[in-house]
Amino acid sequence: MLPLENLQTTMARSVLAIEPMVSAKMLTAGKADPLARLRIYQNNTRSSLTAVLMAVFPVTVRLVDERFFRFVASEFIRRHPPVESRLSRYGAGFPRFLKTIDTLSDMPIVAETARLEWAIAEALDTASLPPRSLADYDKIDLGPSPDILLQPSLRLIVSHWSILSLWTAHQQGTAVDRHCTWARRPERVALWRTGNSVHLVLLDRADFAFRHSLKHGLGLEHGASRALALEPNFDLVSALVRLFADGLVTNVRITVHNLSN
């Protein structure tokens, strides 16, 4: 008789359809075939995890057709099952997995769109802190380069493809002309959670670099320097006003930065 740990390992591999299967002699199922009953667990695992992926990647599903998505999802689940029961974390590796699918090699925008959808899923599961307003700092001297803390749900994505345009076109519930939206055109996207939904905006290179620096705690001076390097006409005041107006600023702290770059 197998120790319980070995038995569970064998069963788990059988449920994930990885050979060798558990021996029928170890199982009973009344008058039924135990291996046929084992397939119920296989189906439950595959179908429930596929449903999780379909909920996270709805636009990707529409891009590739549901049947193909289910096929790819089955392979992903078999090769990369969840490692924890918090399923809101399952699917992080799916966009990268899509890039390995030969059939999709001439449609790189599919994996890129999945990357955007995963960022949306992450943002939806992240805290939304009370935003601060510019008026909160009217009479406070913050020094030349304060730390500006942004909403933890903020995600910044840059793609060679027009992923936000494509994603937006699929939110209307109408038929989409695929070819008109599959443009090879760089898009820089910022997204963050607002209540039950996610707010998405397109950024130019300078604003993207500015927000990227702030998000990673590099400070206002670093952010402004990078933005100005990319766009000499970068308007720092306007960029700051937009940050507050978007509800992205959660705190401003006085900090001294010693950065060489």
Partner: protein, 341 residues
């Protein structure tokens, strides 16, 4: 961290499983629902659902039901996941916490399904150790739920009910009796569902689950699938009636996880559970009253006055029938029982 929440004890009446599609309506309508139960794993992040649950918890008593702790895993429970569960309990301060007699993690993978154990001494020691770890961490008793199963292990040395009874004795845990799971497993593995319920330690049962299941025909095999995707079927109501007759009223949850209908359907199912329980308890009290009336006594109240039920319509209905044979059950439901199951 949320502000301090008032303790709200879960009553021995029906509640509903809170599903994401109903959260908005629950917040705006605040319908009469005895209590709510949530899956712990859905509230381990920081999304909008978590904020909504904090608001609902101020109004409704709450039960936290774990589905991913994998208490039956030979390698023990994941300490990170247990810590997340502890934080959920700290945040929402539920009155009940429950998990399953099952495993779902092995070989580094989480299978998102609840798999059965081989019921033997080795598994009992492992589950008892895992349950003790959970109870020590949460500093509270947890309820352990019986499983719906499609296979069993040939080398089991005891049945599931015996296993659960011994687990209660070793750990002091409570039990969550899922009546639908009893029906599904009893049919699929061919044992007596009522005998299973009777074999459990009644005092340990702190909660009951009710749900629907699907019936699939695979060749000659009729298998019941625990999909939580339909109304509670008559055969499960019948088992529930048997359980309440033995246990008395218990907090009872309507579970619905797939093809989730509008909120009012869940509330309606909860109402039926309350009515059935009230009917059973009313009939029991009436039987006792009739037995007492058979003895010489100076004076008695009318049936309607004497019944301490919160369902006056039932009391009035039964009082109108006074003088007839004492009813023993809510008979209209019995006609539809699926004897094949």
């Amino acid at each position: 961290m949320s502000r301090a929440l008032q303790p709200l004890p879960i009553p021995a009446s029906a509640g509903i499983g809170l599903r994401s599609s109903h959260i908005g309506e629950m917040l705006t309508r605040r319908p009469s629902a005895g209590w709510l139960e949530v899956h712990a794993e859905n509230y381990m992040g920081d999304g909008a659902g978590v904020e909504a649950l904090e608001r609902l918890r101020q109004t409704y008593p709450l039960s936290v039901h774990g589905v991913g702790l994998s208490l039956g895993s030979a390698r023990g429970v994941d300490p990170d996941h247990l810590e997340r569960l502890r934080r959920v309990c700290e945040r929402f301060q539920p009155d009940l916490v429950s998990e399953h007699l099952a495993w779902s993690v092995a070989d580094g993978a989480y299978l998102n399904d609840l798999l059965p154990l081989r019921y033997d001494e080795e598994a009992l020691s492992i589950v008892a150790r895992n349950v003790a770890t959970v109870q020590d961490t949460l500093k509270r008793q947890v309820l352990i739920e019986n499983l719906s199963a499609y296979v069993a292990f040939a080398d089991s040395s005891m049945n599931e009910a015996e296993f659960l009874a011994e687990l209660v004795a070793r750990t002091g845990c409570g039990l969550l009796l899922d009546v639908n799971n009893v029906q599904v497993s009893a049919h699929n593995l061919q044992y007596d569902a009522r005998a299973f319920i009777d074999a459990l330690p009644a005092d340990a049962i702190g909660e009951i689950h009710l749900a629907g299941h699907a019936t699939n025909q695979v060749g000659a095999d009729t298998v019941l699938i625990d999909d939580h995707g339909s109304r509670v079927p008559p055969v499960v109501w019948s088992l529930y009636q048997h359980a309440i007759g033995r246990l008395g009223p218990r907090p009872t949850l309507i579970e619905w996880d797939t093809d989730v209908p509008v909120l009012d359907v869940l509330l309606g199912e909860a109402m039926w559970a309350d009515m059935l329980t009230a009917s059973i308890m009313f009939n029991r009290e009436q039987a006792a009253r009739h037995a007492e009336a058979a003895k010489p006594r100076p004076m008695s109240l009318t049936p309607f006055e004497s019944v301490g039920t919160s369902m006056p319509v039932l009391a009035a209905f039964a009082a109108a029938k006074a003088g007839a044979a004492i009813p023993v059950a809510l008979t209209p439901m019995e006609g539809g029982y699926d004897v094949a199951a």
